[in-house]
């Protein structure tokens, strides 16, 4: 009992961590591109990124399942390349989560990049910093808070995801059975005690982790900042 939930917890953390890393790797350049692109056609890309949000997860899962099955191109290609079936694999739930959580990572980053403006980047360029250097030495530190937001939203949303993972993952213990499914199973199986324990554990654990993240992200010298409105209220 505790063993199987622990396994689900581990799978969940692995999946959410991997998904978040991939999301940041894909989402950062995408957000940058969208923030700095001036062509009007970017609205199409923006809309496509936001699209997975509108389809209910189960339905999105339904279509992903079709796409991932060996009958269709994406699934076929995967099978040819890796020798493994995509549907019902750990990779499948990671890919599904990445698609589903992409807007939660891209959009906050894009807005942060847009609000940043060009003036400090220009200053950096004239101190010999190339684009990559500028990104890591100026953009990243100045938008750190938004990166943390993006990663938190992406991670948390992936942990809570259920419909897609269930459909394309198939609830295989140790591989695709994640905590959200385990919890649902407990509820459905009238195992309320276990569901409550798991839920409360999840809540308290998350609360601690989230608080820790936000705490690390507090401005170091919050005290010296003028807070015109904060105090004037």
């Amino acid at each position: 009992m505790i063993n199987s939930d622990l396994q689900a917890l581990i799978t969940t953390l692995e999946m959410a961590a991997l998904t978040t890393i991939i999301l940041l790797i894909i989402g950062t350049p995408l957000a940058w591109y969208l923030a700095k692109m001036t062509s009007r056609s970017k609205v199409i890309i923006e809309a496509i990124v936001a699209l997975p949000l509108v389809l209910p997860p189960t339905v999105l899962g339904f279509y992903l399942l079709i796409a991932f099955s060996p009958e269709y191109l994406p699934g076929q290609l995967w099978q040819q390349t890796t020798g493994q079936q995509l549907a019902f694999s750990f990779s499948a739930i990671v890919i599904g989560s990445v698609l589903y959580s992409l807007p939660f990572v891209v959009q906050p980053l894009q807005k942060a990049f847009e609000q940043l403006g060009d003036s400090l980047l220009e200053a950096g360029a004239l101190l010999n910093a190339g684009p990559i250097d500028r990104f890591f030495s100026i953009v990243l530190p100045l938008t750190k808070a938004s990166f943390i937001t993006a990663a938190t939203l992406g991670f948390a949303h992936t942990v809570g995801e259920f419909g897609i993972i269930l459909m394309i993952g198939g609830n295989i213990p140790g591989e695709t059975r994640v905590l959200s499914i385990a919890l649902f199973d407990h509820v459905e199986a009238f195992d309320y005690t276990r569901a409550h324990i798991l839920s409360i554990g999840l809540l308290i654990g998350s609360l601690i982790i989230l608080a820790a993240i936000y705490w690390l992200n507090l401005p170091k010298r919050a005290g010296t900042k003028t807070t015109l409105i904060g105090k004037a209220n």
Binding site: A123, A125, L127, N128, A129, P131, D133, L142
Partner: protein, 368 residues
Amino acid sequence: MNNNPPQLNIDISLSYSQFNLVINQAIPLTGITGIFGHSASGKSTLLRAISGLEKSVFGNISLGKIKLVCTEQKVYLKPEARHVGLVFQNSRLFDHLTVLGNLEYAVKRCKNNQLFIDDIIELTKLKTLLNNHINELSGGQQQRVALARAILAEPNLLLLDEPLSALDQQSKTQLLTMMLAIQKQLNLPILYVSHSLDELQQVCDNLLVMAQGKVKEFGNIHQVIHNLNHQLGDDLIAQQTSLSLPITKLCDGYGLTTLTLQDKQKIYLEYDASFKDKINNGELRCFILASDVSVTLTEPTNSSIVNHLCGTINAIKQNNNKVLLTVNCGEQNFYVAISAFSQQKLALIVQQQIYLQFKASAVRTFIH
């Protein structure tokens, strides 16, 4: 052709909705070139074009042998590949870093490392501020950090956009002295935008005057200033004589420094300890406001005025009630502004021999 001194060649045009910049000018890459002009004459835009921040520029820019921009050949060097430094009009410091962090940012990305960060910190008086955050600095402190940061990057060309506008005279003098020293040490060409002719006089070898997006004058600083003396309609500068003269005696018993004109006539000015730093090839740069010089027909006596030069009137130019005399003393033109009343009273005419008189303190090396 290889023997030509390296130049910054600019031949560009650039259009905004209400403003056109059209510049065709070669600027020698030696010493400091001042850029002077009214507000909105296009000074900042020119610097942005040279540094690569104006994408929409059309034409050619080359820095020595390196093509920075050539629209015909579709050459457009990225800003970070140009090795051109720029101190912005608003300092643009990185507020996620401390003062030291900002300076180190430049040092880390500098190829040559001929300068020591500690020296620059010392010269810009930033020692006590190193761990301060940028938003804890006063306006003048921010400008000092921005200047130090740009210098520490050791660019091949340094562009300064009013880098001292928020500083008091004393800090200005110190920093200008520092810039001169560093310019020489690194042999670093500098373009220096300023509204203050005083600042430019102090440090520039050449002067470029801009008006409405175009070059109005360019050349040796003394020459350009003298040309501007005659443009009376436009109150761009105070009329003045601008000089670089050899020092014959640094300090006599009375605290005066002696300069010598080509015909051996002497000019005395008040000695200042800082002259040692200001001497350039044995010459001292100074200027004398046309309004500080007066004219007598006979050699004056019994006066506290120490400078008396004998010369010939070259030109007389009247503008309303004011008259500008050009007086030649030993190959050097001097400019004298007097009232029409005085001119009439003394009945001055061209080719007449007269005496110029001005106080030692009228010979200025830097305005106060």
